[in-house]
């Protein structure tokens, strides 16, 4: 059974056709890296999966369950909002600009959703939170506010925050693009560890090194569609499509 499956997803922003019939399937423990020029729709695809954007038409399945079916911006599938929230919380999201809560300490950032959404007790949430901060190497900064952390440190806390909801799938939206070069490695290392632990991941990235080392599949998108996919080495070393070839040439 696939963890994520989309069928013929279309997304319009006004006149702009951002996603043009995307069919995607991600199996358990797969690490799917998505690359493509800016404006190709890769971030939008990611954001449609957890409903930060609503698709114009198409179907989305999470763990084999249909959670979204729309045509012409109208819901075809009627579904209990609680069910949707539960499904969406199985998708952890890491943002390009971290989006940590600035009025909360690193630890509180990791515990607040557990306490608010899952109703976990404060003690247990803190224990889980400290374990997760330890995992991303941020235990010492548990009581610091985000403004006192570097970009790399903030992103690591953000990963711990997403993991706190025990997601089955992690979505990464250009997680290292806003980081100074020397901070990228630490974040990628944590993502690699997650992949080794068997987490299902979908990563929008420009880090070809990461894609080739950790990714189990590489997807190249352009103009809202998947142009080419395969194992990272296959796509990277031997691109079949001209647009893919041009893109790789342009980023190297």
């Amino acid at each position: 059974m696939s963890m994520i499956k989309t069928e013929n997803i279309h997304k319009y922003f006004g006149e702009n056709h951002v996603l043009n019939g995307v069919d995607l399937e991600i199996a358990k423990s797969e690490v799917v890296c998505v690359v493509g020029p800016s404006g190709s729709g890769k971030s939008t695809l990611l954001r449609c999966l957890n409903r930060l954007e609503r698709i114009t038409s198409g179907k989305i399945y999470i763990e084999g369950k249909l959670i979204e079916h729309r045509e012409s911006d109208k819901n075809i599938l009627k579904i209990d909002p609680k069910e949707v929230a539960k499904m969406c919380s199985e998708l952890g999201m890491v943002f390009q600009r971290f989006n940590l809560f600035p009025h909360k300490t690193a630890l509180e950032n990791v515990t607040i959703a557990q306490e608010t959404v899952k109703k976990t007790s404060k003690e247990i949430a803190e224990k889980i939170g400290l374990d997760l901060l330890e995992k991303v190497g941020m235990a010492e900064k548990a009581n610091e506010y985000p403004s006192r952390l570097s970009g790399g440190q903030q992103q690591r806390v953000a990963i711990a925050r997403a993991l706190a909801m025990e997601p089955k799938i992690m979505l990464f939206d250009e997680p290292t693009s806003a980081l100074d070069p020397e901070l990228v490695g630490g974040v990628l290392e944590i993502m690699k560890q997650l992949a080794l632990d068997g987490m299902t991941m979908m990563v929008v990235t420009h880090e070809m090194g990461f894609a080739r080392e950790v990714g189990s599949r590489l997807i190249f998108m352009d103009e809202g569609a998947i142009i080419e996919e395969g194992t990272p080495d296959e796509v990277f070393m031997n691109p079949k499509n001209d647009r893919t070839r041009d893109f790789f040439k342009s980023i190297l």
């Binding site: 409903r51 930060l52 919380s89 999201m93 989006n99 809560f101 925050r161 909801m165």
Partner: protein, 231 residues
């Protein structure tokens, strides 16, 4: 000093009417506090509604704000005092003051709350939603606490305006500062001392609030600067 401000006029005013002025001062204070609490509650409710995804909630909030922002306070007070009894709703001037002034300033502060919510980075909403927060949970735990420092200064300015606006209750025998000053002047034809005193009393309440607002504003600007580009 002679004329309206002759010294015996002051002496007469304070000896015969000092106690009444004090009572009126306390009444202005209590109306202001109750109206302010009401205004704050309403402003949060309607401010949060104004940014909701629900179209009906947004519409209700819009109607409320537009109605009270575009209607003179005095008309609202007169309608409550003169027309409501005709449909068997009789309210004390004190209650009318608290409710109408609370509603009136609630609309202004709701706009402050709305602009405060808009000033928060969209990424904060997305981070909360992606963790399974509902809209109200997002507001309660993530957005409202962050915008407190932003909205506090303009809210304090509104609080000072609210205090001054309680003076319209003089028109319906509100027994607050303005009414007391005016009725003393009316019955004694001694207007100078009560009006000056009334002005001073309003100033005593409002000046600290405005000063506090300015201080908050300075603190806020420093804090926002400190947060820098990460917002």
């Amino acid at each position: 000093m002679s004329g309206q401000f002759a010294s015996e006029r002051w002496i007469n005013f304070f000896t015969s009417y000092g106690n009444e002025m004090l009572q009126a001062f306390l009444r202005t204070l209590s109306i202001s506090i109750i109206a302010l609490v009401l205004a704050l509650v309403l402003s949060i409710v309607f401010g949060v509604m104004s940014m909701s995804k629900n179209g009906l909630a947004r519409a209700i909030s819009r109607v409320y704000v537009e109605f009270f922002q575009n209607m003179p306070l005095l008309i609202l007070v007169f309608v409550c005092y003169n027309l409501f009894p005709l449909i068997n709703i009789t309210l004390e001037p004190f209650a009318i003051g608290c409710i109408i002034i609370g509603l009136y300033h609630g609309a202004y502060i709701a706009e402050v709350v709305r602009s405060g919510i808009m000033s928060i980075n969209k990424g904060q909403f997305e981070a909360a939603y992606s963790q399974g927060f509902t809209y109200l949970e997002t507001m309660r735990y993530i957005i409202l606490p962050q915008m407190l420092t932003i909205v506090l200064p303009p809210t304090a300015v509104q609080a000072a305006n609210l205090v001054k606006n309680t003076s319209v209750l003089a028109m319906i025998a509100g027994h607050e500062i303005m009414y007391a000053a005016n009725s003393y002047g009316y019955s004694t034809l001694n207007y100078g001392p009560p009006l000056v005193t009334a002005g001073i009393l309003y100033f005593i309440i409002c000046f600290p609030i405005s000063t506090w607002a300015k201080k908050l504003e300075r603190k806020r600007d420093i804090a926002l600067e400190g947060r820098g580009g990460e917002r």
